[in-house]
Symmetry: C2
Subunit: 364 residues, 2 copies
C-alpha cells in the first residue's frame, strides 16, 4: 500500500512513475493539496518536496510583518535546488521537480561529504548546486568561477514534510562540516537598515540575495533578492523570451522597481541602462547567433564520472525541458572523467527569428 499523499496524487494523475538506473520511483508532478510538487516515493521512502518560501519585495515592512522573532540571514545562492537522500542502495540528488538528477547524483562524492547520511540515513540534505558547469541554470554566483559547488542549507527527514527544527539543522550541518551559503548573522526585524546595507553590498557584488530563517519553532522564512540578480536573470534568459512564461520577465522588472523604490537610486545608479542592456544586448546577441548558426542556443558543459549518467542527463533534459531542443555535441574522456557538451536550442526564438529575418509577417 502506498503512503496516502502519494496514493491521492496518483489517483488524481498528479504523480508519475520514473526511473534512474536500477531505481524506480514515483514523482508528484504538481502541488496537490498539502503535498508539494517534487515529492518522491522510492520503495517505502517518501521524500517530500522542498517547501515554497515566500518572497518579500520591501525589507522594512516585509521583515516587520513576516517575522516575530530574530532570524538568521544567509546568502541565497544562484543555482538549482536539490534534495539529497538515500534511496535504494545509494544517495541520489532530487531536483525541485522530483527527478533524480543524473549529473548531481554522479558528482555527489565531489560535491559534499555525505557521512551525515551514513550516520543519519533518514535525513534529507537540502542544498543549492551552483557554478558555470551544470545543466540547468544560465547564471552562477560570482564566487563560484568554475565547475560546481554544493551549498547545504536545510535538512528534512524521510517521511516528513517540512524542515528539521533550526537548532537541529544548525547542530548537524556544523558537526559534519558541510559547506553552507555564507551566513550574515542573526537580526531582528527592527534591524532592517542593517539588512538593507548588507543587500546593497551583495547587489554591488552581483550576488543573488538573502534567505531569512526565524530562530524559532515556527521557522518563519522569507527571501529577498538584489536588483542585479533581477537584471542578470533577464540577461541570462532573454534568448528564450518566447517560451519562458512572460511573467518570468515582468516579475523581475517589478522586483527591480521595488528594490529601487526602497533602496534609492544610490543602490543601483545604472539600473535603467542595465535593464535595457539585459534585454537588448541579449536579443541582439540572439539575432547575431541566428544569422551565424541558424539557431538560437546556449552551450552547457558538465563533467561526469560515469558516461552512462551523461546519457541519462540527455534523456532527462529532453523530457523535462519542454519546448527546448537538447542536442548532444560531445562526450569526451578527460583525466578526471567525461566531459559532456550539449546545446539547448530555443526553438521558439529560432523559429520566429527565422520567419521574421526572412521577411515574414506576424499578426498580433
Amino acid at each position: 500500500m502506498l503512503p496516502e499523499p502519494m496514493q491521492q496524487a496518483l489517483d488524481h494523475r498528479k504523480a508519475r512513475a520514473e526511473g534512474f538506473a536500477e531505481l524506480r520511483y514515483l514523482r508528484v508532478t504538481d502541488d496537490f493539496h498539502a503535498t508539494p510538487r517534487g515529492t518522491v516515493l522510492a520503495g517505502e521512502r517518501l521524500v517530500y518536496g522542498y517547501p515554497h518560501i515566500g518572497r518579500i519585495l520591501e525589507l522594512e515592512t516585509g521583515l516587520a510583518l513576516q517575522f516575530e522573532q530574530p532570524f538568521w540571514v544567509e546568502e541565497k545562492v544562484d543555482g538549482y535546488n536539490v534534495r539529497v537522500a538515500r534511496l535504494g542502495e545509494r544517495a541520489v540528488a532530487l531536483t525541485r521537480g522530483g527527478f533524480v538528477c543524473p549529473f548531481t547524483t554522479d558528482r555527489l562524492a565531489d560535491l559534499a561529504d555525505l557521512r551525515i547520511l551514513d550516520d543519519h540515513p533518514d535525513l534529507v540534505l537540502c542544498a543549492e548546486v551552483a557554478g558555470p558547469d551544470q545543466p540547468y541554470v544560465a547564471g552562477h554566483p560570482p564566487h563560484v568561477t568554475e565547475g560546481v559547488q554544493l551549498f547545504a542549507f536545510d535538512l528534512m527527514e524521510v517521511g516528513r514534510p517540512g524542515f528539521l527544527p533550526a537548532a537541529d539543522r544548525e547542530r548537524l550541518l556544523s558537526a559534519y562540516g558541510l559547506t553552507r551559503p555564507q551566513r550574515f548573522g542573526r537580526f531582528a526585524p527592527a534591524d532592517w537598515r542593517a539588512i538593507q546595507a548588507l543587500v546593497q553590498r551583495l547587489d554591488r557584488e552581483r550576488r543573488e540575495g538573502v534567505v531569512m530563517k526565524e530562530d524559532s519553532a515556527a521557522d518563519r522564512r522569507a527571501k529577498y533578492v538584489t536588483a542585479s540578480s533581477c537584471i542578470d536573470d533577464i540577461a541570462a534568459m532573454v534568448d528564450n523570451l518566447l517560451q519562458l512564461p512572460p511573467e518570468y520577465f515582468t516579475g523581475r522588472i517589478l522586483r527591480l522597481a521595488l528594490f529601487l523604490a526602497e533602496q534609492g537610486e544610490t543602490g543601483q545608479p545604472s539600473a535603467r541602462a542595465d535593464l535595457g542592456r539585459a534585454f537588448l544586448d541579449g536579443l541582439l546577441g540572439a539575432i547575431e547567433r541566428f544569422r551565424h548558426d541558424h539557431r538560437v542556443y546556449r552551450t552547457h558543459r558538465c563533467l561526469f564520472h560515469d558516461p552512462a549518467n551523461a546519457h541519462a542527463l540527455m534523456d532527462h533534459l529532453r523530457r523535462a525541458e519542454g519546448p527546448v531542443q537538447v542536442i548532444q555535441r560531445g562526450l569526451t574522456p578527460q583525466e578526471d572523467g567525461w566531459v559532456l557538451e550539449f546545446e539547448k536550442v530555443y526553438v521558439g526564438m529560432t523559429g520566429l527569428l527565422g520567419h521574421l529575418l526572412r521577411g515574414g509577417m506576424v499578426f498580433d
Copy 2:
C-alpha cells in the same frame, strides 16, 4: 433572416446584442471563420470588422517578401481605430471590437466632414482617432497636442468584407478632402533604404511608424513601427503591467531589438537606457502614486456635446475594460460642451502594490 456570417457567429456564441441610444445591433466578439471580430449588424446593414494587417519586423527582407508591386507608404498614427458608417438614422463610429463608441460618435461632426457618407451612404470610413483627450489609449502622436483628430485611411462598403480598391479609395478620400495620415510617397520593395531613412526620421520624431499599401488589385499590406513607439508604448502601459497580456511588453521588446539589429545603433543611440527608463520610471511613478493616492491610475479627459454620451461612455468602458476599474470624477459644462473626467484604476497593480508595500509575501 440574418446574413449568414452573423447567423453563424450567433449560433456559436461569437456574437452579442448591444445597444447605443435607440440603435440596436449585433457585434461579433471574436474572429469566427472569415468574419472578423468587430463585425456589426444593425437592421439589415452589416459592417465587417477592420481586417488584420500583418507586421514586418525587418524592412529589407519584409518588403521584398510581402510586396510584388510598388506600394504607398503612409504614417501609422498612434490612436484607436474606428469605422464610421450610417446605421439607423445617423453615422456612428464603431471601435475595433464593434462597439458604437459614444465619445467618437458624439464628436463626429467635429472630427470629419461626413458629406462623403451623404453622397455614398453605403461607404464605411476607416480612420484612426488620435490625441491626448480620448478615452482609450495612453499615448498620442507628437503632432496632435490637444483634443483629438481623425485621420481617414481606408474605405469599406456596407455588406462587404475587406477594403475598397486602392484607386477608389484615393479618388474618394481626396474628393471629399478628408484629413489623412501623412503620405510619404510610392515606393518599390527595392527602395528599402529610402524607407529605412524615413522610418529613422519618424523614430527621431517619436512617431509610431508606417503602413504600406500595395498599389495593385491585390492590395497587399504590411505595417512597421519605430523603436521609439515600442518604448513609448511600454512607458504608457507599464502601470498596468499585471493585467495586460505580458506579450504586450515582450513583443515590443522584440520589435525594438529587431529595429536596432536592422537600423543599427545610430538609429537609437540611447535605446537601452530609454527602454530601462520606460519600465522603471513608469513603475516608480506607479509606486509613488500608490503611496500618495492608495491606487494606481491614469486620468482621462474627453469633451462631449451631449452629456448622455458621456454616461454611455462610462457604461461602455465599465463593460469593455475588463479588470480595470473606471471611476467618473466629473462632468462639467463648458463653453464648447461637457468635459468628462474619469480615472482608470489598475486594480491588479493597486492590489499587488498594496500587499507588497504593507510587507506581504508572494509565492512565485
